[in-house]
Symmetry: none
Subunit: 191 residues, 4 copies
């Protein structure tokens, strides 16, 4: 039941937004009553926090698997990290959107909590880039923090428009992103 509530809430939060989704809406759509909701959650806020924490924690765990893989070059790791994010769109697109959109509806304390995990995720990513720079895989003249913010912006925003069932597959999307990031748009054949 707890699971059902979370699942349905993510659906509704994605569709209508957190603040426009009432507890009544949630329980109506699973055929339960408000009492039931409050049997499993102390507040609407707690539900939102659960959604956020379980999302980002899972993402962080999956990131760690990639980070610890000794056989990958830095470029490979970046590719896999981008794929990790894009793949979430297909498997957990709604959660992903709720996660990015509704964080401001968390109470300050929980925001801090979630943000520190997000920060860890970002810094891990940045570390991969910096390792690649050290090893000579990437150019060293660009600020790695800003590059990572840029890459994450590019990739994360896909949640807003990317349709995994459309004409571009996950792999193709990641290829394009990687290609821009690694090689840029300049037409070198010209030279």
């Amino acid at each position: 039941m707890r699971r059902t509530i979370i699942k349905e809430s993510i659906d509704l939060f994605d569709k209508k937004g957190y603040s426009k989704t009432s507890i009544q809406d949630i329980v109506n759509s699973i055929g339960a009553t408000k009492g039931t909701f409050y049997y499993y959650f102390n507040s609407k806020q707690e539900l939102l926090r659960d959604i956020h924490l379980s999302y980002i924690q899972e993402l962080l765990q999956e990131q760690e698997v990639i980070l610890h893989d000794q056989n990958l070059t830095s470029k490979d790791k970046i590719r896999k990290l981008i794929l990790l994010i894009i793949r979430k769109i297909r498997t957990h697109g709604k959660s992903a959107r709720v996660f990015t959109r509704e964080i401001r509806h968390l109470e300050e304390e929980h925001i801090q909590n979630v943000n520190s995990i997000k920060r860890e995720f970002r810094l891990n990513f940045q570390k991969v880039l910096e390792d690649g720079i050290d090893k000579g895989e990437f150019r060293k003249d660009l600020r790695s923090d800003i590059v990572i913010f840029g890459i994450l912006g590019m990739v994360n925003r896909s949640y807003n428009w990317y349709n995994p069932d459309g004409e571009v597959s996950e792999e193709e999307l990641v290829d394009i992103y990687m290609d821009i990031i690694i090689n840029g748009l300049k037409n070198k054949s010209e030279i």
Copy 2:
């Protein structure tokens, strides 16, 4: 007065979010009464729509100046378009954040309206890229729609973390973005 209400609302919507900001909050912070609000606006919704429309319309107009400049290469135009967006952070950061965050609180009809202008802005951007490809400025093997989504994601998300008063200037930020986009990260000196 109307102007004052809008300005204060943007501040509050940025700080607390649209749904958590009450009309009472708005009029309190400008020392007016609810009656006054409803003298100038028919509804809270109308206020939000005004904020969105005026933001995106202004952006579109500024975009058009760039598009019609005959002296610029495609690359120059892309640079100027990116600068246009980044510059908004300093001059209209709050509006920019409200614009990206609160669109979902618009009524369906206004969302359509705003989205069609956003779409126009994006397609204009894409047209610049495609012109550059045609002229041989850029490689032709990447889907331009996705590339533009990527670039906009990268640039737009700056609202979330970029501090124009920090150690990286607007111009430097745009330089970095342009460098990635045009040249990529690969270390060519290696070759």
Copy 3:
């Protein structure tokens, strides 16, 4: 309207108790809506606090008039103080009962506040007794603090059973209390 709400609330709190009286009950009985209630009060708690504070503050003011009357002996003052309390039963019996019964439903902070005023009232009373002892009006062998607690207990509890429209008048009731307190029950004619 604010006044009407307070008046009706006192009636209802007296009749049914604070926790069993809903805002709905209050506004129903004055033909208003919940919105109206919250236009005048921020919370049910604030209403209760208002009732308590205005009651005890008024009582304290009236006490001060008596305390400062230079023409009265200590015994006269005690009599007048007792009469003050008893008289409240007729004029503000409901408030008086709400005041004694519902204080525990105030939030901690307000309880403190009210209690410190109650304390002041009691200590003022005690001072009168002690002055009388110093002047030889009363015996000096009894702890004045406990005597005052006793007197106040005796007098205050009248709220629970005394009917000012019954066969014993206010003055008669005060006479009896004064007689016990000053002269005791012992049959001296015996001696």
Copy 4:
């Protein structure tokens, strides 16, 4: 278990009040579940009634022992009756406070029931006074009903402020009360 529930409830009702104590609170603090509560009690109301009835019935029984003691003068009996009440503060202070404060949360029917026992207790007390008057122990010019209300008010209210572990012992407190009641405050040495 039943006993445990009652004991814990008295604690909580004393601390937070009947209406602010939920069944959940009660069972939480004894490590049981709501099901258990309803196995032993049909309702929260029944629990409150039990607390009230057992308290007042016990008090009445103890009163009767005193009443039937042939060796005591009326004054002795009054002293013992007052001591009976004061002593309850140490042995059953919480019950005593719950008993006085929460009676209004009983349903009408049970209030009647409890009140008729309280009435019996009071009339028994009054009877002792009247016997004393008849025997010439006490003056006959004061209404015995009101005198008893006064004495009970004085004594009962001790629940509110008297600390049996403080500097005044039970016996001393009763002495003071008795002294006021029997001899009054007037300074007779003056005459």
